[in-house]
Amino acid sequence: MSIQNRESFLNNVADQLGRKRRSKGVTRPQYSVEPQWRVFEGATQDELVDKLEDQCRVIHTHFKRSTMDTLTEVISQSIEENDGHAVVAADDQRNDEYGLTSFYENLHDEGVAFHLWDPSSGRENVHFAERADVGITFSDVTLAESGTVTLFNHQGNGRSISLLPRTYIAIIPKSTLVPRMSQAVRHIHKAHADGVDVSSCVSFITGPSNSADIEMNLIVGVHGPVKATYIVVEDM
């Protein structure tokens, strides 16, 4: 049985609310205010990139720009800056389009161990990610206001890639920028209404991990990545 004790539990809730049980017919009210849509309203894509750059200073994240042509160079630099001897990356449709497939293949020649996430090798992926210095993924939706990359994790983009390595690098196509979380969730909400299953894990990632648990000192780098680099790519 996949749902247990529901009826008595919900009947009691309805009782306490002093009415009959509601199983259908509830719709969201028209809220009296909706301030979320006013944030960066009407901003151009370029303005959103600037906002993102500003926010990166707040969230301890390196911010870089590239074109489609210079992308691999910028990634290569970033790997070097972060002492990347072992790199794991998501298997993303965009890898070919952005020239990353051959770039990744050639990393071996430069003495960098590389692993492309591959469901067929099972837990091995996680073990590699655990030992890797750098994890690389594309951002699916990027939130300018908070400096957040959104990942719809899937079989080619395991949760561990952006989580276990010491450094996380996000490739951010300029076209993925939106003002804030509101646009990203509206997309998910609509897709769900259209019958598309939401991914089993949606990760909103804002810079490296941190904690203020010891005497309220900000410590950057706790359980997740210690460092983060965002590379915005001119794709439009």
Partner: protein, 474 residues
């Protein structure tokens, strides 16, 4: 440990808090920093009052239709391969989780910070069942080693300084380095990585579940909730039954209010939404997923004048502005939930009997109400608690009534009086669910029959509080 922490009388707990100089310094500077962070974030967001109004409307609509949204949530989780268990009481929740753990023959369980599992005393149950439970939030991990209860809901180890933490690491884990926070954190990272990788079961709380699609969302900075949900094969999320939103669109608003009000961040480092089991072909994520929805006294608050207490999103903003919390610290409340919200919620969940001092641990300055991102009228709830306590005691045996005189006096303090007339309360509203609440959910371990309240002749909380202030130690 259950909602109630320890058996020391309120007075002694307060005294302990006052005597702990480091703790008071830490609390007071933390309050200042949280507070300015919140104000800055609110200002940056703009339209803060509109955001609060929206937050309140969302919470209120959700609670009014709680049965509908919980049903939808459970359908969705089940559709995505998850199992859903509705637990009326703490025991039911503990028993279910214990059975899952036993069936898996789990030796090691990793947990990320969760107040509801503290409330139901889950760790003790699991340990009794022979499993090792590792708290992975840095602050909680430190406390667990020292067997200390948390003192703040966002930074639970607020009362510990770094030398104490270094000593704990050294004596319990053989740590050899300095007391630099970075070095301490690096050590914790290494130690806990091993735990994550070898755990059989992961347990989390839930900040908000999304009814429309069955997503369960965690809001963290350290990344431990991500590790807990990515690595072990079995995952159990435990949620208080009120912690959900209708759709992803409301999730945005509630998360934005939470992170700003709690830590002054636009978003925390990680907001992670997981839905059911991992999909076919996915490598990481749970194969076996359980969502446990806990009532444990909450439904008794529904339909009463205290219903809005269930709107709470546990951001701690009210705690961070509270002058009483500043002086006495989190442990004085003797509850998993400290500060103004703790003073409102604890008597509702656990009965007045053990917690009737709590509504008096307030100056009724209304700073909490003003700070609350979902506009819960906290100080008004506190006034109502006092009225109810005083009213109740009139009907009680004489010996008890004498003891309660002290409370009556506090309750009739000018500030309280002014406030209640301001709210035009001519008569006490009938407290319909009175008796049920007084019985309390009471499934709680560490419960005793000893009643702890200050004798009437003692200095009152307010008088005491004033002296403290005059003493100039803040």
């Amino acid at each position: 440990m259950g909602i109630k922490i320890g058996n020391a009388p309120f007075r002694d707990r307060v005294q302990e808090g006052i005597e702990n100089d480091f703790m008071r310094g830490a609390v007071s500077s933390a309050q200042g920093r949280f507070r300015s962070g919140r104000l800055k974030a609110a200002e940056e967001l703009g339209d803060w009052e509109d955001w609060r109004t929206l937050g309140e409307e969302i919470r209120s609509h959700t609670l009014q239709n709680l049965d509908f949204y919980l049903e939808q949530l459970s359908e969705q989780v089940s559709k995505r391969g998850g199992k859903v268990f509705f637990a009326q009481t703490a025991e039911e929740a503990n028993e279910y989780i214990q059975n899952v753990v036993k069936k898996k023959e789990a030796k090691k369980i990793v947990k990320s910070k969760s107040m509801v599992t503290e409330e139901i005393g889950l760790n003790e149950t699991l340990e009794r069942a022979g499993a090792e439970v590792v708290e992975t939030d840095l602050g909680e991990w430190i406390l667990q080693m020292d067997e200390d209860p948390p003192s703040h809901i966002v930074t639970p180890a607020l009362h510990k300084n770094k030398e104490q933490i270094r000593e704990t690491f050294a004596s319990k884990k053989g740590y050899k380095n300095s007391d630099l926070p970075e070095e301490l954190a690096t050590f914790a990272r290494e130690q806990l990585r091993k735990e994550f990788l070898s755990a059989d079961v992961g347990i989390t709380g839930c900040n908000f579940a999304v009814a429309e699609s069955g997503a369960v969302t965690f809001v963290t900075n350290e990344g431990n909730a991500r590790l807990v949900t990515a690595l072990p094969e079995t995952q159990i999320s435990v949620m208080g039954m009120e912690r959900l939103v209708p759709t992803w669109e409301e999730l945005d608003v509630m998360v934005s209010l939470l992170t700003r009000a709690a830590v002054g961040q636009k978003l925390t480092s990680y907001v992670t939404s997981i839905t059911g089991t991992k999909q076919e072909d996915e490598v990481d994520g749970p194969e076996d997923y359980h969502l446990v929805i806990v009532d444990n006294g909450r439904s008794r608050i529904l339909g009463t004048e205290f219903q809005s207490a269930l709107h709470c999103i546990r951001c701690a903003a009210c705690i961070n502005v509270c002058p009483v919390y500043r002086h006495v610290g989190g442990h004085s409340y003797g509850s998993v939930y400290p500060g103004p919200i703790g003073a409102v919620l604890t008597p509702l969940l656990d009965g007045y009997e053990d917690h009737k001092d709590l509504p008096y641990a307030s100056t009724l300055c209304a700073a909490c109400t003003e700070a609350c991102p979902v506009k819960i009228p906290l100080h008004e709830h506190l006034v109502r608690h006092r009225e109810i306590i005083v009213e109740k005691e009139k009907k009680s045996p004489k010996s008890e009534r004498m003891m309660m005189d002290g409370f009556a006096k506090w309750g009739s303090h000018p500030a309280a009086y002014k406030l209640s007339t301001k709210m035009a309360r001519k008569a006490l509203k009938p407290w319909t669910k009175d008796d049920v609440i007084q019985d309390g959910p009471g499934p709680l371990k560490g419960w005793t029959d000893v009643r702890d309240f200050p004798a009437p002749s003692e200095q009152t909380f307010r008088a005491w509080f004033k002296t403290r202030q005059k003493g100039g130690r803040s």
